[in-house]
Symmetry: C2
Subunit: 186 residues, 2 copies
DNA sequence: TGATAACGAAAACGTACGTTTCACTTTCGT
DNA sequence: ACGAAAGTGAAACGTACGTTTTCGTTATCA
């Protein structure tokens, strides 16, 4: 009744890559199966549906992103550098094994006008996590203005992600410059 | 071989509303037909395919947005106000008859990993138009730095649009504040 | 090694969707 | 008023997709 860790990993790898570069609706389950080298029977023994597989891929992504971000923050010493480390993490994550076309969570939100509760929860979790951590880091930079500065940086980060739809392959330089100006002004 | 203007309008209205709030792939052609009060035979006499209907809806949207933006700019007198008028236009457009969930062009880009040429052209046109106009307006504010400031504002505008996926129903206040800081720093 | 659980291959099912066709009716210009 | 153009309604087609089922095969571990 359970999946072997290797097959589960292969399934999540395939789902992640295909869903978040080609779009969920545009990716047939068969494509995921072919890429994972797994039979349909096995997939549906481990996951209730395509949507459940998507939710699992999102959760794994959330954990991986959190780790990447934590590491990037930990490498910095000053409050400013720790705040701006989001952009380091953004690039590291983009070039890593889970680097997708833009943002898996925004992409999922874009595909579902009113997402099923399982997905809605994952999306809310990701946004809240992003916002909460940015506000905390911003509070260290500009005490009393953390809320405001953090919300601004959330917009910048989101903007950088969405800009990948306009000009693929871009760097985070513009976002970094904007963030630096905002930090300096606060 | 041609469509009456009233039926074409009804089709484009329905397509616009349903495609850009529910997603293109998630919206069956039948839903568009039902909303428009038009038969399938009529739709396919006027448009080659669902995708062609989407392209037509995007083109009409581009024209409407351009008009809205032009009007908002024309209402301002100082270079700074004319540059920041994008956000007035963003709100006006959002509350207007073509106000969608976030951005029709980004949404279409998100749904197609490698869009058919007809769509790719529309998306490139929209981005280029946005960038080019922002750079021009920014050049009036900060001569010699228009390219840089315009690109930054493009990120802010895109971020504001994408943030609608995270927290629906938000205002442009944060984006406006970020933009103001950027203008002041330039 | 042998029992148990996981997996593969392939077929089948039901359904939803984009698109076409056909026979008939309405609208519009002259 | 009349003929052409445009629209309707419903049915049908082909296909693609998510999911289930069956059965024979392989891996895992006590």
């Amino acid at each position: 009744m359970a999946l072997r860790t290797s097959t589960e990993t292969r399934l999540l790898d395939a789902a992640d890559e295909l869903f978040f570069t080609g779009g969920v609706a545009a990716t047939p389950v068969d494509a995921v199966l072919a890429r994972a080298g797994v039979s349909a029977a096995t997939l549906y023994r481990g996951f209730a549906s395509k949507e459940a597989l998507l939710a699992a891929a999102l959760e794994r992504r959330h954990r991986a992103w959190t780790r990447t971000w934590d590491d990037a923050v930990a490498q910095q010493t000053t409050p400013q550098a720790r705040l701006l480390a989001v952009f380091d993490a953004l690039e590291t994550f983009r070039d890593g094994p889970l680097g997708s076309r833009w943002c898996a969570f925004l992409g999922t939100a874009a595909e579902h006008a009113s997402p099923p509760p399982e997905l809605a929860a994952a999306l809310r979790l990701e946004t809240d996590h992003l916002r909460h951590r940015l506000v905390d880091l911003a509070e260290e930079v500009a005490p009393g203005r953390g809320e405001q500065l953090g919300e601004q940086l959330l917009l910048v980060v989101t903007g950088d992600l969405a800009m990948r739809l306009r000009t693929p392959g871009r760097s985070t330089d513009v976002a970094r410059a904007v963030a630096t100006t905002l930090v300096r002004a606060a």
